[in-house]
Symmetry: C2
Subunit: 224 residues, 2 copies
Amino acid sequence: MTSVEEGSSRPAGQSAVIDLLGVLAYAELTAFDRLAEDARLAPTLEGRAALARMAAAEIGHHDRLTQRLRELGVDVAQAMTPFVAALDAFHDGTRASTWLEGLVKAYVGDGLATDFYREVAAFLPQPDRALVEEVLDDTGHADFALREVRAAIVADPTLAGRLALWARRLVGEALTQSQAVIAEHEQLADLLIAGTGDLTGVARLLQRLTTAHSARMQALGLNP
Amino acid sequence: MTSVEEGSSRPAGQSAVIDLLGVLAYAELTAFDRLAEDARLAPTLEGRAALARMAAAEIGHHDRLTQRLRELGVDVAQAMTPFVAALDAFHDGTRASTWLEGLVKAYVGDGLATDFYREVAAFLPQPDRALVEEVLDDTGHADFALREVRAAIVADPTLAGRLALWARRLVGEALTQSQAVIAEHEQLADLLIAGTGDLTGVARLLQRLTTAHSARMQALGLNP
């Protein structure tokens, strides 16, 4: 693996920071999109407003990230562009067709992504570590989704099987797309391996992600 | 016309305030939806983020209005519900199919609606007058839309005719829906007539709206 990005005069560490800020900035933009779209599936005006409010919070995070990218002298669109295809493919491949599917996607999918980004952020220098941790802070969506999905499953237990299947599809698609991203961004892979120590460290990281994912599924009342 | 809403113990003035806050709260929610939808038509990531940011600002306005409704002891969903059908019909009937149509709709349609709500707000008691004026403040959308549409027409003058036609369709649909709303909400009509003095006052109000609308069309480079 190369330790310096080809065609770039930036040190490898900074390239990884910019990659992470870039992927997160675009992830927040797609999160906005998806929440705005799913808001329209809401069965009540309150639910619709709640999701719209969360979408708005994601844009606040997007702005914080793009502001930092500009501080680093980086073109924001250029930093996001390498991640557009993978993130769009993920969302296009897992478009929620019901209100509950959207909420499960938000809780399970965003939970997994957040855990992963948080692990990577731990290897970043300051102030970027603090910034990433800040924008990964939950916007209240997790609790809202958890409450709504649990209530729906209590009211109709037959939903559980279908939603568990949906959650497994989300995870499969997320793994496919994140492998594609890491394969194309060596400095992210380097950061991950250097940060965790070695491949055993990476395996332990994946184990932590899996454990947290199972806990979320159980909290929803779904078989992991 | 009745001066007190049937089945309500509120004075007529307060019913009109609640109606106006309710219609605006729902209008902000639909503005959020529409901006979020149109953001996906953006030709660049910057344009997409700009529209998403404006959508987020509308939710901030929505929150201010619903907070005031709760202060007045009003159920928020109940205050918005009477206006859902008319506003949804307007948006469904004028769904932008291109980025430029979305921007013209935002500039011309929102400009007209804002002018109208601002006229009505002038008849409200405080603190509601100040609140409505605050949430009607432009979120930067008008300038952005103006700049983008003008630049597009300069680059391709043949766009002007099609966009002018589109703007006329917007105004027609807006008039249809606002007449429907006012016909069903006598206290809003009463407020308008009492505020302007008489029907001549209403005619002058319509004249002011028309003049401002023509100015906006000309600013875009379109024939009113």
